[in-house]
């Protein structure tokens, strides 16, 4: 077989392999990006679910813990603020405040054995705990995926494809609790 034909075949084979690789890399990036968007949407879904569960919880607790008006109002206020928050930063802040308010509400409810035996309250407590967990799990998944995605669009072979098809870097969903944000105060 003449050498030219062999070389031509090798070249065609090489081009084919490169094309297959490009397709694979592009598909991988697309899949990751869709996973990212899905994870972001999931976080939203769980946050909204938490907002919807709170009025029910407040009603249940009101019947038993009549002296805890302050805590209940804090929860309602935090919830309203979280629902009306607009930017991502505001939302993150408001959700944090709401988490804190719920924690103190559940702590207060420990002192009321009748309330703790109420089936409705227990079901709501389970639902709210689970929703908190789901928020943190979907956030965790989102951050893991963001890291992989960002790395992939920045390392050498794949960044060419990423630039060609306009894949952009995403941000991490980082929410620090207000206590953590303050620098530790040292006083003697």
């Amino acid at each position: 077989m003449p050498i030219v034909i062999i070389l031509l075949l090798v070249l065609v084979g090489f081009v084919f392999v490169v094309l297959v690789w490009i397709a694979g890399a592009y598909n991988g990036l697309v899949r990751l990006r869709n996973q990212l968007e899905n994870a972001w949407a999931q976080i939203d879904v769980q946050l909204k679910r938490r907002h919807d569960l709170i009025p029910n919880l407040v009603e249940t607790v009101k019947g038993y813990a009549t002296h805890e008006r302050g805590t209940l109002e804090a929860v309602i206020q935090a919830r309203n603020m979280a629902v009306s928050a607009k930017t991502v930063g505001e939302r993150a802040e408001a959700e944090n405040v709401l988490t804190g308010a719920l924690k103190s509400l559940f702590a207060v409810a420990e002192a009321y054995p009748d309330l703790k035996a109420n089936q409705n309250f227990l079901a709501l407590q389970e639902e709210l705990t689970s929703t908190e967990n789901k928020i943190s799990f979907s956030r965790q998944f989102y951050n893991d995926t963001v890291m992989t995605f960002n790395t992939r669009i920045e390392v050498f072979p794949t960044n060419v494809i990423a630039n060609m098809f306009h894949f952009t870097r995403h941000d991490f969903f980082e929410v620090k609790a207000p206590e953590e944000r303050e620098a530790p105060k040292v006083s003697f």
Binding site: A123, Q125, K134, F141, D144, T148
Partner: protein, 503 residues
């Protein structure tokens, strides 16, 4: 996480290719030798144009190297493989779930378990929510099945749900979801099918050598020393004998490695490896053995159910790694990611699991704090699901206690264990006779059967709570349970056939 999944896929592909190569080799060499033996057997020689006198070295070379026998052998191997694949992949789930009497759980049946699975689904990024099945068995164990992501399912036993707290249960569910996410079920099924085909083929070849030996020795002594002939003979025989053993070793090594990877996935998803570690401890310490497991389904469980009760042999033929090793690795973790698991694995056992190339870009993750345990009351509802299927009736006393009354309880009243008040067991009451209205009796139309009037013994049951399950007793003694979704006006008792109006 994604890097590990990708590396998993590459290795699985390599394994499948390796097994396929072994398969093809056995098929080819076996087919060649059998075909050659058949072709040169004195009975068939005339068919293939060979006569005793003309048989010599060149004829042998011709027949051997044209490869028809080999092709037939490979073809046969592929046919067997395809047949087994079809059998496995169309029936896998029903076969595996068949002997287990698993009940599907809906969200209302057990919200906490459902929530735990939902949380793991979010943490792992699984596209579909797996179904949850409950098996009524005191031995704690769990497994995952799933030919396609849409039909995937996770089964747990009541023994497991009863013993573990929330973090531990979440660790176990994380492990099972790790299996689903890594597509272990499909992979191990494929590997099992290939292993089965290799075994079948090697049995065929070995049987032929064993019983057809006379033919070989007579023919080979005639045509002297074909070097290639001997080599192919030896290679074929070696593969036929050792192939199944090697394939089994490979299969079980894969199974063990996948279990470690699922443990790592669980730690990564839950960010709390101690949960799974203490769950494994509790499961291994349980003394009951699972009643329905057998060798075929054993690799799917979280702990090998056949050896769980009696302690394990740490052999190369076990489908699961020894539990104490798994616990050791989990407890040696200083973080919660795959990279931390790999580091812990190297410290505790030596040798690599995932490979440093894959983990270059993986991150470190911190372990989270244990969660507050919800009261165990909220998971007793899974037992209610089981009791409901066994015909138990649930009565609610005003003091707050719920009492489960078995079917066949003879008396009409029961005393509450907590407060002592007497509760009546609801039964279908005779319907109050409605005042007969002359206009209500339908006219008799000649030629058509006379109208059937309701019998004097009509029964009715009045529902008090339409949002939960209610049960009552029919006049024959059978317990009838009405679900919250029941909205028909009548129900027929399955034991005696009476129709009871539900109001």
């Amino acid at each position: 996480m994604w890097e590990v999944i990708a590396s998993n896929r590459r290795r699985s592909l390599l394994l499948i290719i390796g097994m396929a190569v072994v398969l093809v080799i056995i098929g080819y060499t076996g087919g060649e030798l059998i075909f050659w033996g058949i072709a040169h057997h004195h009975q068939y020689r005339h068919r293939f144009g060979y006569t005793y006198q003309s048989y010599d070295q060149t004829d042998f070379n011709n027949s051997f190297y044209n490869g028809t026998g080999g092709m037939i052998g490979v073809g046969l191997a592929l046919v067997i493989l395809t047949g087994m694949m079809i059998a496995y992949f169309t029936n896998a789930e029903s076969i595996l779930m068949h002997g287990t009497c698993a009940r599907e759980l809906k969200r209302d049946d057990s919200p906490q378990l459902f929530n735990i699975v939902d949380e793991m689904r979010l943490a792992s990024g699984l596209e579909f929510m797996p179904k949850i099945y409950l098996i009524d068995d005191p031995a704690p164990n769990a497994f995952a099945v799933g030919r396609k992501p849409e039909t995937s399912a996770i089964c747990v036993t009541t023994g497991l749900v009863y013993r573990l707290n929330r973090d531990e249960l979440q660790g176990v569910i994380g492990h099972e979801i790790g299996h689903l996410k890594n597509r272990d079920v499909q992979f191990m099924t494929l590997a099992a099918v290939m292993l089965g085909t290799i075994v079948i083929l090697s049995v065929i070849v070995r049987q032929y050598f064993w019983y057809g030996g006379r033919v070989r020795s007579r023919s080979s002594s005639r045509d002297g020393d074909g070097g290639a002939q001997i080599i192919i003979l030896v290679v074929g025989l070696l593969f036929a004998i050792l192939g199944p053993i090697l394939a089994q070793l490979l299969y079980f090594a894969c199974s063990r490695k996948r279990e470690y990877l699922a443990d790592a996935s669980s730690a990564q998803f839950t960010r709390y490896p101690e949960g799974l570690a203490s769950a494994l401890e509790k499961i291994a310490a349980a003394h009951e053995s699972l009643s329905f497991a057998n060798e075929a389904t054993a690799p799917m469980f979280i702990i090998n159910p056949l050896t769980a009760a009696t302690g394990e042999a740490d052999s190369v033929f076990s489908s699961h790694p020894p539990t104490r090793d798994r616990i050791r690795v989990l407890r040696a973790m200083t973080g919660a990611s795959f990279a931390d698991y790999e580091a812990a694995y190297r410290r505790a056992k030596g040798g690599a699991l995932i490979g440093s190339q894959t983990l270059k870009s993986a991150s470190q993750q911190t372990i989270r704090a244990p969660s507050d345990e919800g009261p165990i009351q909220t998971r007793r509802d899974t037992h209610d699901v089981v009791r409901r299927y066994h015909g138990y009736m649930r009565l609610h006393c005003n003091c707050g206690l719920d009492i489960s009354v078995p079917e066949g309880y003879e008396q009409d009243t029961i005393r509450c264990f907590r407060c002592g008040s007497v509760l009546t067991i609801p039964a279908a009451a005779p319907a109050s006779p409605s005042p007969p209205k002359a206009a209500a009796i339908p006219p008799v139309i000649p030629g058509i059967a006379p109208p059937v009037l309701s019998s004097a013994g009509a029964l009715q049951f009045h529902r008090t709570d339409c949002n939960s399950w209610e049960s009552f007793r029919c006049a024959c003694g059978r317990t009838i349970q009405l679900s919250p979704a029941f909205d028909a006006p009548h129900i027929t008792c399955t034991a005696c056939g009476r129709t009871i109006a539900v109001t």
